[in-house]
């Protein structure tokens, strides 16, 4: 019964031309032979790692190829009409009217020069579906459904006057405004904090149900998609791995790859029992920016040798600032830091070189933390020369030894960063930190830009190195699952203050303070109906108050 399908994609093939440095351009296949059907009012989750082709498939529903991607085969039928054969004018009539798109970063996808309300109704009015007044009324209704603050005046705001979560909801309102048949959600909650993500997720789910719109929901987070989809398609390297109802995918996956995604981030490390001997002792640290804005308020915590301290918090909680204070990049305005029993000089430029050597950093974006014009040999070799004066054959031997330690072969020694994958780049960054023979490594969200399975490999590597070399880590993250997997002690930060600190078993067990409670409850779990359960508990609590 092909007629009951709203969207029917058959044997889709999408290609692009890549321009590798120093080689002739070549055609690469991004999506190969993907087929699926979507019925009216249903939600299909597309899940996979980066490069799986999920966004590309989503955009093909709008007959759009991003960055030179071309749909070269197959058909995309909307109500039985192949939209790939419509031509420019025909497809323009569909976009923004019957098919709408919600981008990953609403902050970038809204035009900074216009009011949100005008942007929300623009497509609907331009397509002649409603008058301005009708569209405004519709927008007001949607702002209410999506739970935006003061919906009557929200449309008068400019994008910079709304938060990330609000923008993401406004973008959803923009997509819903024209009464579309289909909405493509492209990772709409990925850039948000967990406590915001749950609100947006609930709002999107509610709005989809309310308006009976079908949706393609693209994400890399299986736990998120499990809350919102009817069906799930697992993608890898542009091909379908597994496609079926959500319950079957989550509870009885048939493919190894799907199983790996479902079981990602189980506990890797048991908590260390003795946490009394401090290697790093932070006492009552406060810090402010040069404009006098206070970012840290009297933070005290400590870390023992050979252990991992996880610092969790949302964006703006001051967790990265704390790392900058420890490295000396931002000298504290108050308080002191002791390292191995000796006070640490506050400012970086006054620190003895040996203190610099002992504390190393790994960044979130390995990409931007490396000079693209240097080979792996130069990148890892630089600290060897700087701290230990190694040159020539001795340096090369040590670089090879380090590559061995990060489980990469000698073959990588003369590659440039552009020739490495994301996970490999992060491994090289780890090797660069190890090259200094550090005692403490500050890891600033080293895995948050990576795909789950790659991230797990990096975490395992870090844990292995810790065992072998008695390394201590300060691990900054917003991901509670990682904390549960690798930490010995946990610090929870919120708006520049330390909310909670102690051994992992204590910190992550009740009784909780309000903020930790909210944070823990907001992390999506790989369980059907989790979202409803959390929302129901919230309603009961607010009713009880």
């Amino acid at each position: 019964m092909p007629d009951t399908n709203l969207l029917s994609v058959h044997d889709l093939k999408i290609e692009a031309t890549s321009y590798p440095p120093g080689e002739p351009p070549k055609r690469i296949t991004i999506v190969d032979g993907v087929s699926f059907d979507l019925q009216k009012g249903k939600v299909l989750g597309l899940i996979g790692e980066s490069g799986a082709g999920k966004s590309t498939i989503g955009l093909s529903a709008l007959a759009y190829g991003r960055g030179g991607a071309e749909i070269t085969g197959g058909e995309v039928k909307l109500d039985g009409t192949d939209i790939l054969k419509l031509g420019k004018g025909g497809i323009r009539k569909l976009r923004g009217a019957r098919i709408c798109y919600v981008a990953q970063s609403a902050a970038a996808a809204f035009n900074p020069a216009h009011k949100l309300g005008d942007q929300v109704i623009e497509a609907t009015v331009r397509h002649g579906l409603m008058s301005r007044q009708e569209a405004r009324k519709r927008a007001l209704y949607l702002f209410q459904v999506l739970g935006l603050p003061s919906p009557e005046t929200f449309g008068d705001r400019f994008p910079h006057q709304a938060s990330g979560g609000q923008l993401q909801r406004a973008m959803t309102a923009m997509a819903l405004c024209s009464h579309p048949d289909l909405i493509v959600f492209d990772e709409p909650t990925t850039a948000l904090d967990v406590t915001t993500q749950i609100d947006v997720l609930a709002a999107i789910k509610h709005a989809i149900e309310e308006t009976d719109t079908a949706a393609l929901y693209i994400t890399h987070d299986l736990a998120v998609v499990a809350q919102i989809s009817d069906d799930i398609m697992v993608l890898r390297h542009g091909r379908t791995v597994e496609y079926g109802p959500v319950q079957q995918i989550i509870e009885a996956p048939t493919q190894d790859y799907t199983r790996a995604l479902v079981n990602v981030r189980q506990a890797i490390r048991r908590e260390a029992p003795d946490q009394s001997k401090a290697l790093l002792d932070i006492e009552n640290i406060s810090a402010e920016y040069s404009n006098g804005f206070k970012v840290l308020h009297g933070v005290s915590l400590h870390l023992c040798k050979g252990q991992t301290l996880a610092i969790v918090g949302e964006s703006g909680s001051g967790k990265s600032t704390l790392a900058r204070v420890i490295t000396g990049l931002l000298p504290p305005s108050d308080g002191r830091i002791t390292f191995e029993g000796k006070p640490l000089t506050p400012a970086l430029k006054n620190r003895p070189r040996d203190d610099l050597r002992r504390i190393q950093l790994i960044y979130q974006m390995a990409d931007t933390a490396m000079n693209p014009r240097q080979t792996v040999r130069d990148i890892i070799g630089r600290p060897l020369t700087f701290y230990d004066g190694l040159r020539g054959a001795a340096k090369t031997a040590r670089v090879k030894e380090l590559l061995e330690q990060i489980e990469m072969g000698n073959g990588f020694i003369d590659r440039y960063p552009a020739e490495l994958s994301g996970g490999q780049k992060q491994r090289v960054a780890i090797a660069r930190a190890l090259a200094a023979r550090p005692e403490l490594i500050l890891c600033d969200e080293p895995t948050s830009a990576l795909d789950p399975l790659v991230a797990e490999g990096i975490l395992k590597l870090l844990m292995k190195l810790q065992e072998e070399q008695q390394l201590s880590y300060v691990f900054i993250t917003h991901d509670i699952a990682i904390v549960k997997a690798i930490a010995d002690s946990v610090a929870v930060m919120h708006r520049g203050r330390l909310v909670r600190f102690g051994p992992k078993s204590q910190t992550l067990s009740p009784p909780f303070d309000d903020y930790t409670d909210l944070l823990l409850k907001s992390v999506p779990e790989m369980e059907l109906g989790w979202l409803e359960k959390v929302l129901a508990t919230r309603r009961m609590e607010s009713a009880g108050n």
Binding site: L62, Y64, R66, I91, R92, K93, L94, R95, G96, A97, C100, Y101, A103, S105, A108, A109, F110, N111, P112, A113, H114, E122, A123, R126, H127, F158, H160, Q161, S286, G292, K294, H297, G298, D334
Partner: protein
């Protein structure tokens, strides 16, 4: 945490924080005044440092030490430089630029007339050039890398490469001499009717338009192209908007600041840089007035012209800065 630190975190918000836009505009205004003062010093010092002397040029063969000393005393040149500068500045602040040494008339009166002529010519050229340049820029983005874009680019490059006096003479040759449909010289006088005036200045206006058009058009194109790759332009496309509407409504407003700046620079050029064009077309504006004054070393006139040119330049750039600030919604509508 001590109480003092808590109190320090939330002080009464300063005026600057409450009215960021007004504060910024006020800052620009003060900076412009300071700049204008510095320029007045530079002009006075520059004129003072010029070789040659009005008295000896004026007297020619009949110059004797006594007559030179007499004229110098008459013009007040025997007083110390600082005194003369503040004397001059005091007059300028009240709108009095002194007396021309050559004609013994009030500089302010003569300048007023000439400045009006120059502003008329420049303003008329601007009214044609600015909208035309911005439209052509947007059109060229709309048809980017296709035929219309390439044609616009080649013609504008040609116009930008030819010096203005050359364009001026070319126009005179074809339109005034060969076809005889335009008037030359473009001399206007008081009491001329408006339409007659416009007819007279057609050629110098066309020259000026050609000279500034290319620069503004190319900058508009570049500024809009640089925002075309933004995520919100993709949003516009996925909303099913037409390419022309996306450019006009979504790209252009975000390219305003650089466009305003290049327009202001060109407007300033229209007023200040018309010297050559005025001389070519024998147009009685500021430029020709200044050139004449330099020839006879009539210093009060040279100083007045220099200062007025500088003031126009600074004023237009200040306006551009302020408009660019106002065009930024983040500053216009603080959180």
């Amino acid at each position: 945490m001590s109480n003092s630190a808590e109190a320090g975190g939330t002080p009464a918000r300063s005026l600057r924080e409450r009215f960021p836009l007004l504060a910024l505009i006020f800052e620009r205004f003060l900076l412009s005044l300071l700049l204008l003062f510095a320029v007045s010093v530079l002009i006075f010092a520059g004129v003072e440092a010029l070789p040659g002397d009005f008295a000896s040029t004026y007297l020619g063969q009949s110059a004797t030490p006594e007559t030179i000393a007499n004229i110098r005393a008459e013009l007040g040149l025997d007083r110390p430089v600082i005194t003369r500068y503040f004397d001059w500045l005091g007059g300028v602040v009240q709108g009095d630029f002194g007396t021309s040494w050559a004609s013994r008339n009030s500089v302010s009166e003569q300048v007023g007339n000439r400045l009006g002529n120059s502003l008329f010519l420049a303003g008329f050229a601007a009214i044609i050039a600015v909208p035309l340049a911005i439209c052509l820029g947007m059109l060229s983005v709309h048809f980017r890398d296709r035929m219309p874009d390439k044609i616009i680019n080649v013609i504008s490059l040609a116009a930008i490469s030819l010096p203005e006096f050359f364009i001026g003479y070319l126009l005179i040759l074809y339109f005034a001499v060969n076809f005889g449909i335009a008037t030359f010289p473009a001399t206007v006088y008081q009491g001329m009717g408006f339409f007659e005036r416009i007819q007279t200045i057609a050629l110098p206006t066309a020259t000026l338009v050609l000279v500034v058009l290319a620069h503004m058009m190319r900058m508009t194109r570049a500024a809009i192209l640089s925002v075309m790759s933004s995520a919100y332009m993709e949003t516009a496309e996925l909303k099913g908007l037409s390419s022309w509407r996306a450019i006009v409504k979504h790209a252009a407003p975000n390219a305003l600041a650089p466009i305003i700046n290049v327009v202001a620079l060109n407007l300033a050029y229209l007023v200040v840089g018309v010297v050559v064009v005025e001389v070519v077309f024998v147009y009685p504006g500021m430029g020709q007035y200044m050139v004449d004054a330099v020839t006879v070393r009539d210093m009060p006139v040279v100083q007045a012209c220099g200062l007025i040119f500088a003031a126009v330049y600074i004023l237009l750039n200040m306006l551009a800065d302020i408009l660019a600030i106002v065009a930024n919604p983040r500053l216009r509508h603080p959180r």
